[in-house]
Amino acid sequence: MFSYLLKQLASGLVTVYFIATATFFAMHAVPGDPLMGNKATTPEIRANLARKYGLDRPVLEQYGMFLKNMATGDFGISFTQHNRSVNDIIAKHFPVSAILGFLAIVVAAIGGVMLGSITALFKNRAPDKLIMILVIFGVSVPSFVVAALMQLGVTELNRITHLSILPVGGWGEVGHMVLPALALGLSTLAFLTRLMRSSMLEVTGADYIRTAKAKGVSPTGIFFGHQLRNAILPVVTVLGPAVAAITTGGFVVEQVFAIPGLGRYFVQAVNQLDYTVIMGLTVFYGAYLVGIVILVDLLYGLIDPRIRVQKT
C-alpha cells in the first residue's frame, strides 16, 4: 500500500514537471510582450522593466531560474500587480474558490445521489420524468447562463418582495454562497443524477438484491445496504475530476457574483501575459489535480474492497 502511494506520488511529480515545462515554453511562444501596456514606453523604460523581471536573459536561463525557484516553492512577483507574490495570490484567493467549489460539490453529490435514486425508484413515473427534464436543462445550459438567470431572478424577487431574500453578489457571508454554489454545481448535479440513475437501475436487477429480498431484508435495508453502496461507485469515480474541475473552473460564476476567487486571476494573467502568475497558477492547479486523482484512487479502495491494491 505504502509503496503504491509512493509510486503514485513520484509519477505525480513527473506529471507536474511536464505540465510546468510545457506551459513555460508555450507561454513564451505566445506572441506579445508581457511588459507592454496600453501606452508605449520608451525603450529605456522597457529595458529597466525587463531587467527587473529577468526578461533580458535568454529563455533557457529563465527556464533554469524558474525551475530552481519552483523547487523552493517560490513563483516570484506578479508582473501586473508589482507588489504581490504569486504565492500570496494563491493563498488569498484559492480558499475562496475552494469553499465555493466544495459547496458546489456537496450540492451536486448529495443532490445527484438523491435525485438519481428517486428517478430509479420511480422509473418511468411522474417524479422520474420531471427530474429528467430538469437534468437535461442542467446538462445543456452552461453555468454562466444559469448564474445570470439566477441573479436576475433574485433581483426581481427582491424587488417584488421589498426584501433582501438573497444577496445578488459579493462575498463574505453565508448568504453570498447560496446562488453561486447552486449555479456552479448544477451541471455536475445533473450529470451525477443521470449516472446514479443508470447505475441504480443496473444494480436493482442484480442477483444479490434478489437474494436480499428472499432473505427478508426490509426495503430500506436493501436500499442503503446493497443498492446505494454498489450503485454509488461510478459516482465516486467521476467525483474526483469533478472536484478539481469545479474548484478551479468557477471563473465565470465568480465574475457574475463578484466573488474574489482564483479563477479571475488566472484568466487575467493569461490575457495580460503575466508570466509569473500563469506559471504559478498552472503548476498549482496541476499539482492539485494530480493530488485529487491520487486521493480518489485511495478512496476507491475504501469503498470497494475488490479494488484494494494487492500486495506484491
Binding site: 501596456g37 520608451t42 529605456e44 529597466n48 527587473k52 444577496p167 453578489g169 459579493g170 457571508e173 457574483f257
Partner: protein, 540 residues
C-alpha cells in the same frame, strides 16, 4: 415509505439554510456611498500606477500639488500658490497639509516620490510623464544619477522645480497620479511592499483607504487629517463588489446595492426599459484609424487613404456602430472638451466635419489603382481587438470597403497584448486605435504622431509636424503653443495620417440619494470627493 421520510429529512437543512440567508435586509448607512468597480487596482504605489482603477483610488486618497477643480482648471492642492517661469516653477506648500498619521506633508515628500519615479531600479512605466523636469530622461536612461533630478526642497514648504525646457502644461501635470508625494521613511519601512495593502499606504487626500480585501472589496473613510475636510461630505465610500460583468453590475444597481452605474451598449436597452434617469459625459478618449506607413505597405499611398476618407461617414458610424448616445462623430485629433488659449481649443481652431462622397471615393480609388498598378480586389489587413464591439466595428468597415471600393478587408482579431505587439511591430495596414488623455492640455494628443513617439505605431513621419510640436513644447506662451498644435494637427489631417472616427461618450445612471459627484474626461473618474448623500424616503 420510509425512504420518503429520509428524503424530506435531507431537504430540511437546505431549507433552513435558505431561511437563514433570507431576512438579511440591511438599510443603507447614512453618508455612505456604495459603488462597484470592474477590476481591483493592481497596486497603489503611485510611482507605478498606470491604470484607471489605481487612478480612481489614489485620486480619492492622495493629493498632489494641485487638484482639478469643478470646471476643469487646476486649483490649489498641497500647494497653496505657485510661480511658473520658462525655466522652472516654485510651489509654496500649505502648512496644514497632513499625512493620515498626523505628520506634515513637506516638499521633501515630493522630491522623494519624483526621484523614485525616474529611478531606473524602480522601472516605472509612467516615468516619461516626468520628462519635463530637468534630467529626468537622462536618469531613466541611466546616464545621470537620481539625485540630479531638477527638483529640490529649499525648505519644508518650498518646492523648486527646474525644467528641461520651457513647459507650458506643467501645472496640469501636477495633479497627475505619478506626481503624488510619498514619505520616504514610511516607504522604506514597507520593504518593497508599499501600496500592496491598505495598511502599507499613507494618505494625504480627502479619504483614507481603510480596507482592501484583494479581489473582493475596498472601503474608504473620510480623512479627518485632510486640510480641506470641511468640504468633504461623505463619511464612507464602500466598494463591496468587484466584477467586470456588466449585467451583474446592472442587477446590483436594480437591487439597490450600488449608487452609480455605467451603462454599456448591452445594458443601455435594459436601462431604457427600467426607465432609469440617464446622463452622459465624454470620457475624454479619441478614436481613429491608424494607417501603416512602413515601407511596402499600400496604405502609404495617399489616394487610397483619401478614398477611404471620402467614403467614411462619421455620423452614420457613430449612430449605427458606436451607438452610445453622446458620442461625437470624429473629425479631429484634438477633442472637443479640451481648453485652448482662453476658451475651447475647437472653438478657436474649428475643423469642418467631412461629408461622405462616394463618387469622389471611387475616383480616388481609381487613381490609386492606376498609380500602383494594383488590381481590384485590393486586400488590406485590419488589426483589431477581441471584444464584441471591435468585431462589429471591423465588420462595418469590411462591408463598406467591399461595397464601394472593392477592398477585401482581412480582419486580424487579437487579444490585448498580441494586438499591442503587432501594432508595435507594424503587422497591419489599418488598426482601429484610441487614445485617452494623461493631462488636460492638447499636447497629450498632439505629440502622439511625432516621429519620436513610441505610440506612433503607423510610423507616419512629417518634418513640419515634428517641428511644430517641438516649437509648442519649447515655450510657455499659450498663443504660440496652441497655434503650433493647431497647425500641426492640420498637417496631420490633410495628409490623412489618421482617420478620426469618434469621441467616446459614456452613459450612466445613479441613485436618487447620490448627488454632487463629478464625471471627468481627464484624471480620476468618477470623482466622489464633493459627493453628497441625500436620504429620501423610499429612495432606492
Amino acid at each position: 415509505m420510509t425512504l420518503r421520510k429520509v428524503m424530506s429529512t435531507a431537504l430540511a437543512p437546505a431549507l433552513a439554510f435558505a431561511a437563514l440567508a433570507a431576512g438579511c435586509s440591511k438599510p443603507k448607512a447614512p453618508d455612505t456611498l456604495y459603488f462597484s468597480m470592474a477590476n481591483e487596482p493592481p497596486e497603489l504605489n503611485s510611482t507605478k500606477a498606470t491604470d484607471q482603477e489605481s487612478s480612481f483610488v489614489l485620486g480619492h486618497v492622495m493629493e498632489g500639488l494641485t487638484r482639478v477643480g469643478a470646471t476643469g482648471q487646476q486649483v490649489p492642492g498641497v500647494a497653496e500658490r505657485w510661480n511658473l517661469t520658462d525655466q522652472g516653477a516654485t510651489f509654496f506648500l500649505r502648512k496644514d497639509a497632513k499625512w493620515s498619521d498626523g505628520k506634515t506633508v513637506t516638499a521633501h515628500d515630493f522630491v522623494f516620490a519624483w526621484q523614485t519615479v525616474v529611478d531606473p531600479k524602480n522601472a516605472s512605466e509612467y516615468a516619461f510623464i516626468l520628462f519635463p523636469v530637468k534630467n529626468a530622461e537622462a536618469i531613466v536612461q541611466g546616464k545621470s544619477p537620481v539625485a540630479s533630478l531638477g527638483v529640490k526642497a529649499s525648505d519644508d514648504f518650498t518646492l523648486e522645480v527646474k525644467f528641461e525646457k520651457p513647459c507650458g502644461y506643467f501645472l496640469a501635470l501636477t495633479s497627475f497620479t505619478t506626481y503624488f508625494p510619498i514619505r520616504e521613511e514610511f516607504y522604506s519601512a514597507q520593504g518593497g511592499k508599499y501600496g500592496a495593502e491598505a495598511e502599507k499606504l499613507l494618505f494625504n487626500g480627502p479619504f483614507r483607504l481603510t480596507q482592501w480585501v484583494h479581489g473582493a472589496s475596498l472601503e474608504f473613510e473620510k480623512n479627518d487629517a485632510y486640510w480641506n475636510r470641511d468640504q468633504i461630505h461623505l463619511k464612507l465610500i464602500k466598494v463591496p463588489y468587484i466584477t467586470s460583468d456588466t449585467s451583474a453590475r446592472l442587477n446590483l444597481f436594480k437591487d439597490g446595492k450600488i449608487d452609480l452605474l455605467d451603462l454599456g451598449k448591452n445594458s443601455l436597452e435594459d436601462a431604457l426599459n427600467e426607465e432609469f434617469k440617464m446622463k452622459r459625459y465624454l470620457d475624454g478618449s479619441v478614436w481613429y484609424l491608424q494607417y501603416n506607413f512602413s515601407e511596402g505597405r499600400i496604405t502609404r499611398n495617399k489616394n487610397l487613404r483619401k478614398a477611404i476618407q471620402a467614403l467614411f461617414d462619421p455620423s452614420e458610424y457613430v449612430n449605427k456602430v458606436v451607438a452610445v448616445p453622446g458620442s461625437i462623430p470624429g473629425s479631429t485629433l484634438i477633442p472637443q472638451w479640451l481648453g485652448g488659449k482662453s476658451t475651447q481649443f475647437r472653438q478657436e481652431y474649428p475643423v469642418a466635419p467631412s461629408r461622405p462622397n462616394i463618387a469622389l471615393a471611387k475616383s480616388h480609388m481609381d487613381t490609386f489603382l492606376k498609380e500602383t498598378g494594383q488590381h481590384a480586389p485590393v486586400s488590406l489587413v485590419w488589426l483589431t481587438g477581441d471584444t464584441p464591439g471591435s468585431a462589429k466595428e471591423a465588420e462595418y468597415f469590411q462591408n463598406l470597403f467591399k461595397k464601394h471600393l472593392g477592398i477585401e478587408l482581412r480582419i486580424d482579431k487579437q487579444i490585448f497584448k498580441q494586438r499591442l505587439a503587432k501594432m508595435l511591430s507594424g503587422e497591419f495596414d489599418i488598426v482601429a486605435a484610441g487614445w485617452g488623455p494623461d493631462y488636460a492640455d492638447p499636447m497629450t494628443f498632439a505629440d502622439l504622431f511625432t516621429s519620436w513617439n513610441e505610440n506612433n505605431r503607423g510610423k507616419w513621419k512629417n518634418d513640419a509636424y515634428d517641428a511644430l510640436i517641438r516649437r509648442a513644447q519649447g515655450t510657455t506662451n499659450p498663443v504660440v503653443r496652441m497655434d503650433s498644435m493647431a497647425a500641426a494637427e492640420k498637417i496631420l489631417l490633410e495628409d490623412q495620417a489618421i482617420l478620426p472616427t469618434f469621441e467616446k461618450s459614456t452613459v450612466y445612471t445613479h441613485s436618487d440619494r447620490l448627488s454632487g459627484f463629478r464625471r471627468r474626461s481627464v484624471g480620476f473618474d468618477p470623482d466622489f470627493t464633493a459627493a453628497k448623500i441625500i436620504e429620501t424616503q423610499g429612495a432606492r
